[in-house]
């Protein structure tokens, strides 16, 4: 009973802090007589949604596809790569250093090249999100698959357990919390990847829209775009968090 009470309190306080931030923003702009070009009020910001020319829905959709698509592809290929590494040690020794080197490349620097290779559009930006997400997922999953207690290995060996049994009963479920910790990092990075891609060259998406309205100094629309990008990122992060809650026992979660 007191537990659920405390939870309600927590949520209420969290909502309150957000509302206070918006209120401070509002009073700062209105009573500070800040010019709209420098900082729009919360009301002006929401109002920007009513400009049909900005095609908000289309842009939201484009950016969402890039972020979610890039993340999903990275999750699938990241986990598969880590599985291959755990099954073929020589492959890990061969390819992991290469991945580490490739990860040193600032992915943003690849933007202009992606445009040369894939033209403007959703694809190069999805790829950018993928490139940023891929490595943390591979790294954490591979580490999780490696981390088997030696004594547990002995236990399976005394029972003449097969490699497959060790994999399905101990390694794979044991790696899941690690994979999720990688995916949580990747979820945040995916947003950055997609938006940078849109800045560099695109004809759709919220990042693209920001560049367009920058020319006309519609700061309110820029604010709205940033808020929407944040919400999309928050949604992805929330989904990952929800899946983690469902699939990973409380104690095993990696913070």
């Amino acid at each position: 009973m007191s537990g659920s009470n405390e939870q309600v309190q927590r949520y209420a306080l969290a909502v309150l802090s957000h509302l206070i931030l918006i209120a401070i923003w509002h009073f700062f702009v209105v009573y500070g007589e800040v010019p709209k070009v420098v900082m729009p009020s919360p009301y002006d910001t929401v109002h920007a949604l009513l400009v049909p020319n900005y095609r908000w829905l289309e842009n939201i959709l484009a950016t969402s596809i890039e972020i979610f698509g890039g993340f999903l592809i990275a999750a699938i290929f990241g986990i598969l790569t880590a599985l291959l590494f755990s099954w073929f040690r020589w492959l890990e020794m061969f390819a992991m250093p290469l991945l580490v080197s490739l990860n040193m490349i600032p992915k943003v620097a690849l933007g202009p090249l992606m445009i040369v290779w894939f033209k403007y559009g959703i694809w190069p930006n999805t790829l950018m999100a993928f490139a940023i997400c891929f490595f943390p997922i591979v790294l954490t999953t591979a580490r999780g698959l490696r981390e088997v207690e030696p004594d547990l290995l002995d236990l399976v060996r005394t029972l003449r357990g097969s490699r497959w049994q060790l994999f399905t009963k101990i390694q794979l479920p044991g790696a899941l919390p690690y994979t999720f910790s990688g995916m949580k990092v990747a979820a945040i990075l995916a947003v950055a990847g997609a938006i940078v891609g849109e800045f560099l060259g695109s004809e759709r998406g919220l990042g693209y829209l920001m560049l367009q309205v920058q020319v006309t100094l519609d700061t309110a629309a820029m604010f709205m775009a940033v808020i929407l990008i944040t919400l999309i990122g928050g949604l992805l992060y929330g989904i990952v968090l929800g899946l983690e809650r469902y699939f990973v026992v409380k104690d095993a979660r990696i913070q």
């Binding site: 207690e149 004594d151 002995d154 236990l155 005394t158 003449r160 044991g174 026992v249 104690d251």
Partner: protein
């Protein structure tokens, strides 16, 4: 003369790392009869864990003889060994009962029967009512009880324990000593128990094998002539003191 259940003779094990040889076990010679609870006691580096792993078939050895089972006492190394480690090593994502059932899954034992047995064993080790909980909901001592149930679930003939109570606090440890004796008497298993606790070794063992370090060597092997069931009071008897003094002397502590 009938053959012992376990027979070791002049077992020797040398570790080699980067050209340096380290004598881990030497002159280990002793027999274990079925149903005995044998304590392997000694300081760290005396080879007691190595010896346990040799018995488990996890390590090879360089000289000597190791035989488990006989024509009269069949022993299948794949199915007849249960193991308990210093850490409970329960899988965090499995409920206690599913953790206990792990060996039966690996061995392909029918799961309905295995679940029933897991429930019975959890009752035996004093965890009735905790079957459907997750490991993090249990204390360290309770987790170790679950790991003992896991070591018994496939009905092995030999249970190997590697300092199973070493990570527990002193009070829980004493309680677990009593519990282990009760579990041993009810399950009628052969148990080999590794410890560096001299009191624990004598209190639990029907026989004590003493190993010394530097160089690793088997120093003694004697029967503990104190009848079961034992209570904590036996530790205050003169006989008990003689046994512990005997071990202390061998280990150079007087």
């Amino acid at each position: 003369m009938s053959e012992a259940f376990i027979h070791l003779e002049g077992v020797k094990k040398i570790y080699r790392t980067r050209g340096v040889e380290f004598l881990a076990v030497s002159e280990a010679t002793f027999d274990v009869e079925q149903g005995e609870l044998v304590s392997l006691v000694g300081p760290s580096g005396c080879g007691k864990t190595t010896l346990l792993k040799i018995l488990a078939g996890l390590h090879g050895y360089d000289a000597g003889k190791v035989r488990i089972g006989s024509a009269r006492q069949p022993f299948n190394p794949a199915k007849d060994i249960g193991m308990v480690f210093q850490q409970p090593l329960l899988l965090k994502w499995r409920k206690i009962v599913d953790n206990v059932m792990l060996p039966t899954e690996i061995l392909g034992i029918p799961q309905d029967a295995a679940r029933k047995r897991a429930y019975e064993l959890l009752e035996l080790v004093g965890l009735k009512g905790h079957e459907e909980k997750y490991p993090y909901e249990l204390s360290g001592g309770m987790q170790q009880r679950a790991s003992i149930a896991r070591a018994l679930v496939h009905d092995p003939k030999l249970v190997l324990m590697d300092e199973p109570f070493g990570a527990l606090d002193a009070l829980t440890r004493e309680k677990m000593n009593l519990e282990l004796l009760r579990i041993w008497e009810e399950s009628k298993k052969t148990i080999i128990f590794v410890t560096h606790g001299i009191t624990e070794a004598v209190f639990l063992g029907t026989r004590v094998v003493v190993l010394t370090a530097g160089p690793a060597k088997m120093a003694d092997n004697f029967q503990v002539d104190i009848p079961m069931p034992r209570t904590l009071d036996v530790r205050n008897t003169e006989k008990f003191g003689e046994y512990t003094r005997r071990i202390y002397r061998l280990l150079g502590i007087e």
